[in-house]
């Protein structure tokens, strides 16, 4: 079984552990053994060390990377921000001077950064290492006929020059689309596919500006695709879609019911037959109806002899 260091970040283990549980359920079934990176911290988030001092950012990121290096594994994360931060730090650490300075900082905690572990997002890992065919072979409930709108999230797309795996065209991303289609679902295109959802620094700085951007994207999704669910591979996008649709609905700014939103591995775990009370249990939008539909008996894939 292929081993990979599972880097959790903050929001997934602390606020949405059902997403973490979905990783832990699907990966072994797909031939991947996630190893815990004990004592890993925040990546550190954009609003912390990266906003104060480049070297401190690289020191904290590289400490996280050394935990994987010590185990001799690459890193996989489900948080787009963590993916962006760790990948960029690794890019800065290619500079010999920066690497030297950071290793001087790390010497105070008896660590040395080598640069031997690569950084992957779980969507990229599933797409390129596990593969769509292997995913298809594990589907227990076919999601055929269900319509998904995809939301990739910014930090796995740009800047493509620092990522180990990049989309062919980051303005028309297809990795998540392929992964969703592996469950049997339909994934129509919409015009604001690559637009920002407005989460992140923007939301904490000015929620009205954030909601304005979010609303434009949401309406594009609704009017152009009218999906059964929104599926994302970014935990921050997940939170924005799950929290902010309800705000817009309450204010009367949208005239439709909030669209159930899932992190991709939750959808996959449900399609693989895992218990929703473990892998898709925490959301503000009620998802019970669509979850029951996804795991309904007539969707059971018949074993071919």
């Amino acid at each position: 079984m292929e081993q990979i260091g599972l880097y959790l970040g903050c929001n997934i283990p602390l606020k949405h552990p059902d997403i973490e549980q979905s990783f832990r359920k699907i990966l072994p079934e797909l031939g991947v053994e996630p190893l815990d990176l004990e004592g890993a911290s925040c990546c550190p988030a954009w609003g912390t060390a990266p906003s104060f001092d480049l070297q401190t950012w690289c020191a904290i990121s590289s400490r996280n990377i050394t935990i994987a290096e010590q185990k001799g594994v690459d890193i996989m994360t489900g948080c787009n921000s963590c993916f962006g931060i760790l990948s960029e730090a690794k890019h800065f650490l290619e500079d010999k001077e920066m690497k030297k300075k950071v290793n001087e900082s790390l010497s105070a905690i008896n660590r040395t950064y080598q640069g031997t572990s690569d950084i992957y997002h779980i969507a990229q890992y599933l797409h390129s290492k596990v593969g769509v065919d292997a995913i298809k072979s594990k589907i227990k409930y076919s999601l055929d006929g269900l319509k998904m709108a995809t939301q990739t999230g910014c930090h796995t797309l740009w800047p493509s020059d620092v990522y180990k795996i990049a989309e062919q065209n980051p303005y028309e991303p297809t990795i998540l689309k392929d992964l969703c289609m592996a469950t049997g679902a339909e994934v129509p295109h919409y015009s604001r596919l690559a637009a920002c959802c407005g989460m992140g620094g923007m939301r904490s700085t000015d929620i009205e500006k954030s909601l304005k951007l979010f609303k434009e994207k949401l309406i594009s999704i609704k009017e152009e695709t009218d999906p059964d669910m929104i599926v994302t591979t970014c935990s921050s996008c997940f939170m924005q879609f799950d929290m902010s649709q309800l705000i817009l609905r309450e204010r009367g700014e949208i005239d439709f019911e909030p669209i159930p939103t899932f992190y991709y591995t939750q959808v996959l775990a449900l399609a693989m037959g895992f218990d929703p009370s473990q892998v898709a249990a925490i959301s503000q939008i009620d998802r019970s109806k669509i979850i029951a539909e996804m795991q309904s008996e007539q969707r059971l894939v018949k074993e071919v002899a």
């Binding site: 283990p13 911290s41 609003g47 060390a49 900082s105 700085t205």
Partner: protein, 167 residues
Amino acid sequence: MQIDQKKIDEAVSTIIGYGGTHILDCVGCGACSAVCPGVKAGFDVLCRKLIRKIVTGHLEEIIEETSSWGCQACNRCTEVCPQGVRPQEVVFAFRRYQANELAFSTSSITSQMNLFETGHAVFTDPKANRKKVGLPEEPPTSAYNEQAQKEIQTLMNNSSMGELGLF
């Protein structure tokens, strides 16, 4: 507009010092601003406009500007820049200038304290939810790992952030 060479030199070297290394390669084409979600949402002093303010020496004048904190760090600007400026690195260099002069929202101090104390910028007690979904109540992160927290605190105390008295 009055242009003062000394102010320009100071502004540019400050931003380069904080990591906006390629600022002088900007030709002001505005490709960055055209794809910036921050600019689209109304944080107007980002990308082209921010770079313009800096290269004309107007750094102190915009120290209280909040646009930089509305940057999503999405790097669309970096992707499209035909000059290799990496505009997001200029935005973050400007943020670092602001942060080191303590010109930022006090609400962001909580994240710095959380990071210092628990190793997590965002911290909420996860135990009940983790138990509910069948996971160990304590995640294997720094949240409940004293040794890891000590390591983070050492790195932060020894850094330039440690001199700002935020934690």
